[in-house]
């Protein structure tokens, strides 16, 4: 049985996913990947990760959709938002939805 902490990384850029997976693998985490909000929700239900790194700007269903879904959970895991731009309103919105940090 894998006792490593599970991290879900959500980003629509496959190269970013590849890099992040290499980093977290090397740091001893069990990494699962998702390319948009819809698949992230599916993977989340399946793997129940201990932490989530979530990109906001994604096609199909974006990070806001997935974050809002997590906000409805009883005990959601910590979520770190990654974005290319941090508008104050976005940061406030992310905090309000339960994100623990916002990285640019």
């Amino acid at each position: 049985m894998d006792h490593r902490s599970r991290v879900l990384i959500v980003d629509n850029d496959p190269d970013v996913l590849c890099s992040m997976r290499a980093i977290f693998d090397a740091e001893g985490y069990a990494v699962t990947l998702a390319a948009d909000g819809s698949s992230a929700r599916r993977v989340y239900e399946e793997h129940r990760p201990d932490a989530i790194i979530l990109d906001i700007a994604m096609p199909v269903l974006d990070g806001w959709y997935f974050l809002a879904h997590l906000a409805g959970e009883v005990a959601p895991p910590p979520v770190i938002i990654t974005a290319l731009k941090a508008h104050p309103l976005d940061v406030a919105r992310a905090k309000a939805l339960g994100a623990c940090d916002f990285f640019v």
């Binding site: 970013v16 590849c18 890099s19 997976r21 290499a22 693998d25 290319l84």
Partner: protein, 479 residues
């Protein structure tokens, strides 16, 4: 403008007055003569014994002197009456002019500070009708082709924004001849028209009409009012032009800011991947993972290089290309082969030969961008069709993707255009470069719906006309 009522000068029947004066004088003289005659006969005549034959001429001479005196006085009175009449007429004219200039000053007052063109036009027609006491008015501005457009109205005779040719009616005549015109309309209304001339340029016409009795100074007052009105219109037009210019500059500034912001955004994305790949390489010992991360670095470096090339292209597409003869279908077919090798197969539908005037590198760059755009934002299969309309050669690249909604079709040609969720992601400059290149070649670029439901992006190019082809053929064969 109305002048106050003046009392009427009484010059009527001067001859009757003159006759009355003469008659009274004669009666007086005769009475005096008779008195003297009677008195002389009673007193002095008795002493000196004068003859009645001497007294009669004396009485006649005294009478004649009295008549001449009376006539002179009557003529003096008449002359004074005439002078008084002239003075009163002059005073009345002066009072009218003072009143008219006061009214003009009042009428032009709101025009001095107004800069907004709509406010100026409305104020002009409002004050003009008020100045003349007119019930109807229209301000007509000159447009291209010597057409007069109704830009402001009072009453119901003129329809706002309607147009009329400048060779019709009193307004047209005032415009053409650049002088005020007064006419009686078919329905009996009095119509005044004054041209709005500023620095020798006719800007339009003020037209006022009423059913009241007109006076001579009405047209003069309207003509005087037209001068500051024309200056106010010219001033407002300058301000409007400057505002448009400022708006254009602000829009350009916003676009440039958005463009710079977009560059930062587009660079940040591959840099994030590169930074992550470098961090991963430092940590991992797995050979396969290292290969994957190196591939990430290769792809992202290529992405940045492509992006930088697009920036360079933007800086160089403002110049003009040499525009030699070009067989468009041949260039398209060769390009389609290149793109197929690069994993972007396209279906080409083109005539055997079609000569255009365009730079070959510009055409290759445009069509490459369109193919890449179709694959990035649309879906395969991608088709290239080369066709002609009346005077242009057209290359249309269509895909089977979701298409581009009509609301954003123009905006995607802007340099600062960014891909939205409905339009995928990307640098957002590919189509801007396409249009810029097309315009440099004398054509343009636009977007339609493809029959397959996707987007159909077209580029037009100038065809070589027959005369030019024949001339080129002749020169080729002679040389």
């Amino acid at each position: 403008m109305r002048t106050p009522a003046e009392p009427e000068l009484r010059l009527a029947n001067p001859l009757a007055r003159f006759a009355l004066v003469v008659a009274v004088t004669l009666i007086g003289v005769v009475a005096l003569g008779l008195t003297l005659l009677v008195d002389a006969s009673n007193t002095f005549v008795r002493a000196f014994q004068p003859s009645s034959a001497l007294m009669l001429p004396v009485a006649v001479v005294v009478g004649v002197i009295g008549v001449v005196f009376a006539l002179d006085k009557a003529l003096q009175v008449r002359r004074l009456e005439r002078e008084l009449a002239h003075e009163r007429a002059a005073a009345e004219l002066l009072a009218r002019r003072v009143a008219m200039h006061t009214a003009l000053e009042h009428a032009t007052e709101p025009l001095e500070d107004a800069l907004d063109d709509e406010i100026v036009l409305d104020a002009i027609i409002g004050r003009a009708t008020e100045l003349l006491g007119a019930s109807e008015g229209a301000l007509l501005l000159r447009e291209h082709g010597d057409v007069l457009r109704v830009a402001a109205v009072r009453g119901t005779r003129a329809v706002m924004h309607s147009r009329r040719p400048s060779d019709l009616g009193p307004a047209g005549r005032a415009m053409r001849e650049q002088r005020p015109v007064a006419e009686r309309a078919e329905d009996g209304a009095q119509v005044w028209c004054a041209p709005l001339v500023h620095r020798g340029v006719a800007l339009g016409v003020i037209e006022c009409s009423t059913y009241r009795v007109a006076i001579n100074t009405d047209l003069y007052a309207l003509a005087l009012f037209a001068e500051p009105a024309a200056a106010a219109i010219a001033r407002a037009q300058i301000v409007a032009t400057e505002r448009e210019h400022v708006d254009e500059l602000l829009t350009l500034d916003r676009m440039q800011r958005a463009f710079v912001s977009g560059i930062g955004h587009d660079l940040r994305s591959p840099l994030t991947a590169l930074r992550g790949a470098a961090a991963g390489l430092r940590r991992t010992t797995d050979a396969r993972t290292r290969d994957e991360l190196l591939a990430v670095i290769d792809r992202q470096v290529e992405r940045i290089a492509s992006f930088v090339q697009e920036l360079v292209d933007i800086g160089t597409t403002d110049g003009s290309f040499e525009a030699p003869r070009l067989d468009l279908p041949s260039v398209i077919r060769l390009l389609a082969l290149d793109r197929a090798v690069a994993g972007r197969p396209v279906v080409v539908d083109a005539p055997e030969r079609l000569d255009v005037v365009a730079d070959v590198e510009a055409v290759r760059r445009m069509v490459s961008n369109l193919i890449e755009n179709a694959y990035q934002h649309g879906a395969a299969p991608v088709q290239i069709r080369v066709w002609t309309d009346a005077s242009r050669a057209i290359v249309t690249v269509s895909d089977c993707g979701p298409g581009i909604s009509s609301e954003i079709r123009e905006s995607v040609f802007a340099y600062a255009a960014r891909g939205s969720s409905s339009f995928g992601s990307g640098h957002g400059m590919g189509l801007a470069i396409v249009r810029s290149l097309a315009e440099t070649c004398g054509g343009t670029a636009w977007i339609d719906d493809a029959p397959s439901g996707g987007a159909a992006v077209s580029v037009s190019l100038r065809m070589r006309d027959v005369t030019t082809q024949e001339a080129a053929w002749t020169i080729d064969h002679v040389s």
